[in-house]
Structures are given as structure tokens and as C-alpha cells.
């Protein structure tokens, strides 16, 4: 195995049937996609729900789904969707404009009868309340979204999981229990959820598209990465999530297994708290950048599941500035810069590492160990500090750290979703998304302008410039972009990795 799979053509016989077992690291929290934030929950929701629009498999472009077409008003302040007819929810009720209105209104209208089932977290994350004014059913099969301001990524937002269309009848019937018994129009029907063990789905026979091949889909929980790999080797499961970087080579060598890989839309970084000494000094930040040998980190921690990062944006993102040159590994230079900054003998500081594995950083504490050793070489004595995850986020938000690792996964494929949230001056106020507390007027001005410009070329130019400023000022030490790897049996066909981290099982079939 080992080679990348060529996209297989849809349709045709011999693809139907079979059960696919997908092994993942944790259980879903809930299956109502608008309530949840974690990838594991979305894995389950994606199978059950359709959106008005969806991402093209493996891309960030958007294509029609439950909406057959749409028109954007000239003032960019409303979008009208023409809905697919004859689609039924799994509970047998019809999919109409009312369902669309229901799905969205419950997330922002405080007097909606089901608003209380929230919190509707992603709606908040994507700042949708400041974008969407109203959702209006024009007729049974036409829905209009009225916007508060022009928002270029709005359509992409609707392809995100939280915008999956739910069955109003089911929500009314199940109430709070809906999140355990999701009902949508999606390719698979929910059958059973065995907590911390497996979620079982079966094919939605009346699906509006004809590329649903699997009879059953089982999402199984195997917390330990190595155990997942062993289970795959033994054929107990068909596809596994988050393989251990250490096992990737063995997987690639295994003739019965193939590994799909794609760069993820994320970045893992080490932020210097520029509001604290000595990190307020640019020379120090640069010195620390010179001090780290990213290759070693990649080798030891990411293996072939990561690429070194030089920019705050992932390379798959448009406007990624590839001309920028990373600080090379040069301890001598680092020492010299430190001396120049007034620290010829280095200094003592803390190096914070997340306690948990994240998509952008599989093992922060191990990276911290490596960094600690490398910083030591230039005389910087870094104590590794780790808190329980919630505390960690709290404390970094409050800028209590000296240097802290963190990262970001893009939601909708827009650079603004990285740069504004993570590096703008307004985001540097606690609770800070900008945990470098970096308030650079020039940088903020550039991305503010980009945010308000609709012209893609101009935006690209602005973002590229911003990245130059970033590199020079070095508020972060960008570490890596992870490469998503999905090992599976050779017989599994039609599987695509989505940049946004979705796991989609429509179109997947098993070779007999």
C-alpha cells in the first residue's frame, strides 16, 4: 500500500453493501451538530445531516447540497436558496423551508422554543449573530438569509457542521434527547449509540443522491493510537483516525493497508508573551526562533505527519506567503542576538505545554522537552509547565504565561479566521485569542483592511504583507502544520480527507 488513492468515480454496481468500521480516539459528546464543538461529535453528525451547501470532497470550495442553487443579492446583504424537492428526513417528514428556518432560528432567536437547548457554541464562534439578521421562508422550497453586513465567507460557513439541517418534528418530539437520537436528511440513519464504545448507522435508503454505498457505518472508540493500529492490522476495523506518527512508516509498509494523507488547515505555535519581559524585546523573540531546530521536532514528534511552519497560515490557505524565509536553526546567531538584547547569559523562563493532544500538535509536552533542551543550549533555562486543559486555556487567555504552545484549526478556509482571531491587537485583550499579547499597529491595520475588502486579489496582497511583518516581529515561533493521515484497509475506496477535518462517508465503498 502506501500510495495516495486516486479519486474513484461515483456510481456503478459492485460498490453497494458492507459495513465500515471507523476507529477513532474518543466518543462524540452529542450528535446535534449545532450544539457541539468537537471533531468527534461532528464525525457522527456529518453522517446524519445534510447542509444547504457542502464542501467539494477534499476541497474548501462549496457546492450545492440541500439547496439546488442560490442567488446573492446585489448589495451582498441577502442570499436566497432554492431547496431540493422530495427530500425526506429520516423520520419520514418532509424537508421544507420551515426546517431551514427552524434549524437556524433556534440558534439565535432567544424566544425560539428550542433556543434553550443550547448553548449554540459554533454560532457564537463564527460570530453569526453579527452576520445573520433573519432567516425567512419565502415559500416551501425557498429560503432567504438576510445579512447584517456583507460577509464573503458566509456561504462557506453554511457548509460547516453547525449548519446541518435538523428535523423540526424530531426536535419537537425528542427535545433534549435529540442530541442522542439525531434525525436529519443525511446519507446515514442513526441506529444506536453505545456510549464510549460505538455509534452505529445504517444507509438512508431514500437518500437524494446515489453515492451512499455502505449498509452500515460504525464509529468505534479506541482511545489508544497504537491499539487502533493493532485493531486495523487485525482487521477488526477498516479505517483509523489519528494514527501515531511512530507507526506511520509501518503502516505504509503494510501491504494490506494504505495511508491517505493531506496537509491540514492548521498551525501549531509557541507564542511569546510580548507583554512580559524579556519577550517584549524583538531580538529575544528572534533569538528564540533561531534557537529551535524544527526539523528535529518534526522528526521526533510529527514524523511524516507534519511539516515545519514558517507562517501563521497553513500552506493550503490562499494568500500563504511562500516567499518568506524561516529563521534557520542557528544557535550561534541566537546567542549573539540574546547578547545584543542584553542577555549574554540567557535567562530563566517558563515554557507552557498543553496537556492534551490536539490536531495541530500531537504531543506538546514532548515538543516542550525538545525545545527545553534546545533553549538550554543558548542559555535559556525553560521550565516546562502544564495545567489541566481547561485551566491551561484560562491562564493563557489571561496572559499568565511566559511562552505557551497553542494552535488553531481553520473552520472555513479564510485567512481572516487565523490572523484576526490570533494576532490582531483587539484580540490581545484578555481573554485573549492573541496569546502573544502582540499589539502591532502595522499588522493590525493590514488585516483590518483585508477583512473589509471584497476583492480577493487585494486581500491576498494585504495578507502577504502582514505575514512579512509577522515574520520580522516574531511574536510566535510557528512550529508545524500537521498532515492528516488516515490509514485504512486497501479495500476501502472513495474516502476523502477534508481540509476542515470533516469525516465524510458518503461515496465510500468497500471493494469485495
Amino acid at each position: 500500500g502506501g500510495e495516495q488513492e486516486a479519486a474513484s468515480s461515483a456510481g456503478g454496481d459492485g460498490k453497494m453493501g458492507g459495513t465500515l468500521v471507523f476507529a477513532r480516539s474518543g466518543d462524540s459528546v452529542g450528535l446535534d451538530p449545532a450544539r457541539e464543538t468537537d471533531g468527534e461529535s461532528f464525525y457522527g453528525a456529518t453522517a446524519v445531516f445534510d447542509n444547504l451547501v457542502e464542501f467539494v470532497p477534499g476541497k474548501t470550495e462549496v457546492r450545492p447540497a440541500l439547496a439546488e442553487s442560490w442567488e446573492v443579492a446585489d448589495d451582498n446583504l441577502s442570499v436566497t436558496f432554492n431547496l431540493r424537492k422530495g427530500v425526506k428526513f429520516h423520520d419520514g417528514t418532509d424537508f421544507t423551508a420551515d426546517a431551514v428556518v427552524f434549524t437556524f432560528e433556534r440558534q439565535f432567536k432567544e424566544d425560539h422554543p428550542y433556543y434553550d437547548l443550547g448553548p449554540w457554541k459554533y454560532w457564537g464562534y463564527m460570530d453569526m449573530s453579527n452576520i445573520v439578521d433573519a432567516v425567512v421562508a419565502v415559500d416551501d422550497y425557498t429560503v432567504r438569509f438576510d445579512l447584517k453586513k456583507p460577509e464573503a465567507p458566509f456561504l462557506a460557513n453554511l457548509a460547516m457542521d453547525f449548519a446541518g439541517i435538523v428535523s423540526p418534528a424530531a426536535v419537537e418530539k425528542l427535545g433534549e434527547d435529540f442530541k442522542n437520537n439525531p434525525v436529519g436528511t443525511g446519507p446515514f440513519k442513526f441506529v444506536e449509540w453505545r456510549k464510549d464504545d460505538a455509534i452505529i448507522f445504517e444507509r438512508n435508503e431514500g437518500y437524494w443522491a446515489d453515492d451512499v454505498y455502505l449498509d452500515r457505518l460504525i464509529l468505534r472508540v479506541i482511545p489508544d493510537a497504537t491499539a487502533r493500529w493493532l485493531a486495523l492490522q487485525k482487521g477488526e476495523v477498516d479505517v483509523i483516525d489519528f494514527p501515531s506518527a511512530q507507526d506511520l512508516q509501518a503502516m505504509k509498509n503494510d501491504p494490506n493497508v494504505k495511508v491517505l494523507q493531506q496537509e491540514g488547515l492548521n498551525v501549531g505555535y509557541l507564542a511569546f508573551n510580548t507583554s512580559k519581559k524579556p519577550f517584549d524585546n524583538k531580538l529575544v523573540r528572534q533569538a528564540l526562533n533561531y534557537a529551535i531546530n524544527k526539523e528535529e521536532i518534526i522528526t521526533a514528534v510529527y514524523g511524516s505527519a507534519g511539516t515545519p511552519a514558517k507562517n501563521p497560515l497553513p500552506p493550503t490557505m490562499w494568500s500563504y506567503n511562500d516567499d518568506i524565509k524561516d529563521y534557520p536553526y542557528d544557535p550561534a546567531k541566537a546567542k549573539q542576538l540574546l547578547a545584543q538584547a542584553g542577555f549574554p547569559n540567557g535567562f530563566s523562563t517558563q515554557l507552557w505545554a498543553m496537556p492534551v493532544a490536539r490536531p495541530y500538535n500531537p504531543n506538546a509536552r514532548k515538543i516542550a522537552e525538545i525545545m527545553q533542551a534546545q533553549f538550554a543550549e543558548i542559555g535559556v533555562d525553560a521550565e516546562i509547565v502544564s495545567y489541566e486543559w481547561g485551566t491551561y486555556l484560562d491562564k493563557t487567555d489571561n496572559l499568565e504565561h511566559d511562552m505557551a504552545m497553542l494552535g488553531w484549526t481553520g473552520d472555513n478556509g479564510d485567512p481572516d479566521n487565523f490572523l484576526w482571531v490570533l494576532l490582531s491587537a483587539p484580540a490581545a485583550e484578555p481573554p485573549a485569542g492573541n496569546i502573544a499579547a502582540w499589539k502591532n499597529a502595522e499588522f493590525t491595520a493590514l488585516i483590518k483592511e483585508a477583512k473589509e475588502t471584497m476583492d480577493q486579489a487585494r486581500r491576498t496582497e494585504l495578507y502577504e504583507k502582514a505575514q512579512v511583518v509577522f515574520k520580522e516581529e516574531a511574536p510566535w515561533l510557528p512550529i508545524a502544520h500537521s498532515v492528516v493521515s488516515v490509514p485504512m484497509k486497501n479495500s476501502v475506496q472513495g474516502f476523502h480527507i477534508y481540509p476542515t477535518g470533516k469525516r465524510v462517508f458518503r461515496g465510500v465503498w468497500i471493494e469485495k
Partner: protein, 338 residues
């Protein structure tokens, strides 16, 4: 007897109250809050504040405590903060898995432990004795998580005898009624005549049970041995021998029944320990049990879940102790209750 049991059950309440109070304040004192954990990297300040208010986390601690007690009094364990599901529901789903595992582990440990212990005691200072006791010492010295990994490597990967984890081949869509898979699979066998379910359930149980049961097995073997040796020295054993009772009978009937007394206690204690000790085993063998769940709930600061889980485990623990005492009294006429 009934009165005694009632009295013991009555004692359960203050104990549990103590446990609840202890857990409540320890978690309240621990840094980090559940709202933060739930909302992750992207939370805004308003969102956090709102969620905290929703969860009642902004109220004074004593108020939270008493309202929690009030709900417990109504047998309402509340809802999990992370999943929003009633804690009772989650516990009912997960606890059987742990119970099943612990029970099976204990079964293996007790049967094997007692046999080994008796053999060692009767062949004291022979090779058999040395080997079993050194083996038992290795057993108690074993880091469980490490043992689990090693067992998987050997029996699952190398010899391909057992699955790597889980409770049952997920491709068998067995109806779960009790969530005790052995029972459920028996029902399935009954209904469909297909033995696959039971076979699969058993196969999945073995490795984790062995991993989990190793320490208790070793402890029981050692306890049995020393208890047997102690009993074999007693005057009444001498009496039995002096009365010409055959040695086999002296050992297996006269002595063993007496020797069982401390063993029963040990089995009870170990069973209780297994319930929580399963955390590591559950993680390694992908066993959907309550230990792992409580552990995750603790890290997520999911108060209601932690509380609920610990209340259930503690209750069962206390009940097992009661059961052990009752069993003890059945074997030991001295404390036999009228």
C-alpha cells in the same frame, strides 16, 4: 439479619454524604472550570459568563452545595456538563461494562488464586510453592497498564488469539438490554441460536480481565496460602487429625472453610478496588467503562458526572462490603446473624 442489613444500609447514607461532600469541595477547590473546558480554544468572555450562569457556577459555593444535596435527596444526579445527558443514564450504560469486567476479573482471580494458594500451602517449601509465590510476587509488582500493553502484544498481536480491545465484535449487531454483554449475548443466543455473540463477548473479556485480575489473583493466592498455613496450625486441625480424619478432608473441608474467612474479606476489598482500578485497563483495552469516564469527567471538571460516578462506585463498594460481611457470616457461625 434483616435488622442488621438495614442498620448497615443506614450507615451507607452518612458515608455517602461524606463522600459527596468530599468530592464536591475537592472539585470546587480544584482549579479550572467546566465552562472553559466545554468551550475550548474559541470561547468568548460573554459565552463563558453565560455558560457559567447557566450551570449555576456563579452562585456562592455553599448555595451550590446545598442545591446539589437537595437534588441528590431526590435521587437526581443531575446532568453531565459535557454531554448534557442525565448522569444516571450514562452511568447505567457504562457501569455494567465495568462491573462485568471487574466481576470476571475477580472470578478468574478468586478461583485461580485460591487454588494456587491452597496448593502452595499444602506443599509448603516445595518447588511448586516457591514458583507460585514468586510468581504471585511478580503479579503484585506489575504496573497494570504496562502489563496490559504486553498482553496485547503477545496474545493479541503475536498469537492472534484475542481481539485488541472493545467488548464485542462491533460487526455483530447485538441488542443490548442489560448492558451486561454476557447476559445480553446469552439472551441473543437464546433468541437466535447463534453462539457467536457469546463467543465474541467472552473473547473480548479475557485479556482485560487477566490484566485487571493479575494483582488480585496474586494477592488472593498469597492470602490463601498464609491463611491456610495459619489454620493448619490450629488446634482444631490437630484435633481432626488426631481423630483420624483423612488428610485431604482435613485440608479441603476442615481447614479451607476456616481459611476462607480472611480470603472473603480480601476478595471484597479487591473487588472494590477493581471498580476504580479499571481506569487504566479500560483505557488500554478500549473498554467503555465507568472508570475511564470518571477520569475524563474529572479532567473536564464535569462536577455532576464525577459526583454521580463516584456516588455509584462508592455505593457499590459499600454494598459489596456489606455482601462480604453477610457472606462472611454465612461461613463463620461466630458472627452468624439471626
Amino acid at each position: 439479619m434483616g435488622k442488621y442489613i438495614l442498620k448497615r444500609l443506614g450507615l451507607l447514607i452518612p458515608t455517602l454524604l461524606g463522600v459527596i461532600t468530599l468530592v464536591f469541595f475537592m472539585i470546587a477547590l480544584s482549579p479550572g472550570d467546566p465552562a472553559r473546558v466545554m468551550l475550548g480554544e474559541r470561547a468568548s468572555a460573554e459565552q463563558l459568563a453565560k455558560l457559567r450562569a447557566d450551570m449555576g457556577l456563579d452562585r456562592p459555593l455553599h448555595e451550590q452545595y446545598f442545591s446539589y444535596l437537595g437534588r441528590i435527596a431526590h435521587l437526581d444526579l443531575g446532568k453531565s456538563i459535557t454531554t448534557g445527558r442525565p448522569v444516571v443514564e450514562e452511568v447505567l450504560e457504562l457501569f455494567p461494562a465495568t462491573m462485568e469486567l471487574a466481576f470476571f476479573a475477580m472470578l478468574i482471580a478468586s478461583v485461580a488464586g485460591i487454588i494456587i494458594g491452597v496448593i502452595s500451602a499444602t506443599r509448603r517449601n516445595t518447588m511448586v510453592d516457591y514458583v507460585s509465590m514468586v510468581g504471585a510476587l511478580f503479579g503484585v509488582s506489575m504496573p497494570v497498564f504496562w502489563l496490559g500493553l504486553v498482553l496485547i502484544m503477545i496474545f493479541s498481536v503475536f498469537f492472534d488469539l484475542f481481539p485488541t480491545g472493545g467488548r464485542m465484535n462491533v460487526r455483530y449487531y447485538m441488542d443490548t438490554i442489560t448492558n451486561f454483554y454476557l447476559i445480553d449475548s446469552l439472551i441473543a443466543v437464546f433468541k437466535t441460536g447463534d453462539w457467536h455473540y457469546l463467543g465474541s463477548a467472552l473473547k473480548h473479556l479475557i485479556l482485560p480481565s487477566v490484566a485487571l485480575g493479575t494483582i488480585p489473583l496474586a494477592i488472593i493466592a498469597r492470602t490463601t496460602r498464609s491463611s491456610m498455613l495459619e489454620v493448619l496450625k490450629q488446634d482444631y486441625v490437630k484435633t481432626a487429625r488426631a481423630a483420624g480424619i483423612p488428610e485431604r478432608k482435613v485440608v479441603y473441608r476442615y481447614a479451607l472453610k476456616n481459611a476462607l474467612l480472611p480470603i472473603i474479606t480480601v476478595i471484597g476489598i479487591q473487588f472494590g478496588l477493581l471498580l476504580s482500578g479499571a481506569i487504566l485497563t479500560e483505557t488500554i483495552f478500549a473498554w467503555p467503562g465507568i472508570g475511564k469516564w470518571i477520569y475524563h469527567s474529572i479532567s473536564a471538571r464535569d462536577y455532576p458526572a464525577v459526583q454521580g460516578g463516584i456516588i455509584v462506585i462508592s455505593t457499590v463498594f459499600v454494598l459489596i462490603n456489606l455482601l462480604v460481611d453477610i457472606l462472611y457470616s454465612v461461613v463463620n457461625p461466630k458472627v452468624r446473624l439471626k
